[in-house]
Point group: C2
Chain length 157, copies 2
């Protein structure tokens, strides 16, 4: 199963890139994993969140293929604990899913077009995070999920 994390806006600090790379490498021990970025919507003189989201939504859709199974990481999504997330990943594997795409929106969230097109949503926390943080957060959880699936001692509880 190929897994992709699709994000809006690149990381700008080396420590974020290094920590993401660290988890990416660890996840790739278990499954094919990569992170892709689309650029942020241009905020003009009068930056209107609705227009920025729409622009970002169009770019995200261009990165998603017909046979991808898409999950939006969204604050209105279903909250899972680490074991439940691992179970979800294992279920996808067992169903023979080929390509799984998790999407993190931009600063203003997802456009209506994105919500209309993709109904699977999950929430990582009740708290709001910076984009850098949420990416790292997700990668750690995906790595943790694979360690749970494979009975690796990384996950204690």
């Amino acid at each position: 199963m190929k897994i992709k994390l699709l994000c809006v806006g690149k990381n700008n600090r080396s420590f974020w890139l290094k920590s993401l790379e660290n988890y990416s490498n660890r996840i790739n021990f278990y499954t094919s994993f990569g992170i892709e970025y689309v650029s942020e919507g241009k905020s003009g003189k009068k930056s209107i969140p609705g227009l920025i989201k729409k622009e970002e939504g169009k770019k995200l859709i261009l990165k998603i293929r017909k046979d991808d199974f898409v999950v939006l990481l969204d604050e209105e999504g279903k909250s899972l604990n680490s074991s439940a997330f691992a179970k979800t990943i294992r279920n996808y594997q067992n169903k023979g899913m080929q390509s799984l795409v998790f999407v993190i929106g931009g600063a203003y969230g997802f456009s209506d077009q994105i919500y209309a097109k993709f109904s699977n949503r999950m929430r990582l926390s009740d708290m709001t995070f910076s984009h850098q943080m949420i990416r790292l957060f997700f990668c750690e959880q995906l790595y943790r999920a694979y360690t749970i699936i494979n009975n690796h001692p990384y996950h204690n509880s």
Copy 2:
């Protein structure tokens, strides 16, 4: 108000230290903030989680003063969103609290002694995290809380 984050075990990778330092510096713009560490409980030939927790608990208590207000970051704690966390911090400030200590336990969690002594608990997420991750997670939320309190545009929602 002085705020301290008290943790078990040091960070070993430079990217974690750099990202923590980055948030620490940003928090210190608003309030006095520091991170302190106690060493992990020694896991002997037969490492028993209960003994490790007890040893770590004793070391943590040595770092806490009588007039510190202590909050345990614990998976059984109350879940707050970022705005509610900011409100909590502001309330502490308004009450004239001098010294606030947040504590993150070791790999096996907190000892019974710690639970008996400190009853305030909060949860950052339903998910379980590595110790490195939870520290960074907390620092980002504390920084975010201060940006909310001070109407800084960092927090969008």
